[in-house]
């Protein structure tokens, strides 16, 4: 089964579990506070995932190390390539 298929199956499982609990007939409902916490659960999971993504992006932005030597080496390569092309007649 493809990855998409697996994700869709997982989502369908969780979705039907949530729907079964949320749309229960009045006799079989969960106790009130549990039900109140359960109903917004899909939106909550979406917001939680959004927060996690934002935090990951921010953390990796803050901890990304500059590579001084690689930058210097790259500038050197650019300079050499420019000189070489100029020598061969290409006007930059």
């Amino acid at each position: 089964m493809t990855k998409l298929g697996q994700w869709l199956c997982g989502l369908a499982l969780l979705g039907s579990a949530w729907a079964a609990l949320a749309l229960a007939p009045p006799g079989l409902e969960l106790p009130a506070p549990l039900r109140q916490a359960l109903l917004p659960l899909p939106v909550y999971l979406l917001v939680a995932f959004g927060c996690y993504s934002l935090a990951t992006v921010g953390y990796r932005l803050a901890t990304f190390n500059d590579c001084e030597e690689a930058a210097a080496e790259l500038q050197e390569h650019i300079r050499a390539a420019r000189a070489d092309l100029r020598r061969r007649g290409l006007r930059l």
Binding site: A32, L34, V47, A48, V57, G58, N65, D66
Partner: protein, 84 residues
């Protein structure tokens, strides 16, 4: 080491999303189990807003992305037409 601005923005994002996550978790998951006379309820809007605000924010996000794409495509089409 990333530059100072990078670190500031990065850790700012982490702090912001942490605060948002804690507030939203309290609102959705913890508050239903706390008595209605407890003082903590005054710091939270009525429960409907816990669903309305993220949905509206999501729609606004999709709107902005769509508008941005339209503007970029428009500009690139005008540039292509001008060079013809």
């Amino acid at each position: 080491m990333a530059t100072a601005t990078d670190q500031l923005v990065g850790f700012g994002l982490v702090a912001f999303s942490l605060i948002l996550f804690v507030y939203y978790t309290l609102w959705i998951i913890v508050l239903p189990f706390i008595d209605n006379n407890h003082g903590i309820h005054q710091y939270f809007l009525p429960r409907e807003y816990a669903v309305i605000i993220p949905v509206v924010a999501g729609l606004l996000l999709v709107l902005f992305i769509g508008v941005f794409i339209v503007i970029v495509m428009w500009k690139s089409r005008k540039a292509a037409k001008k060079s013809d």
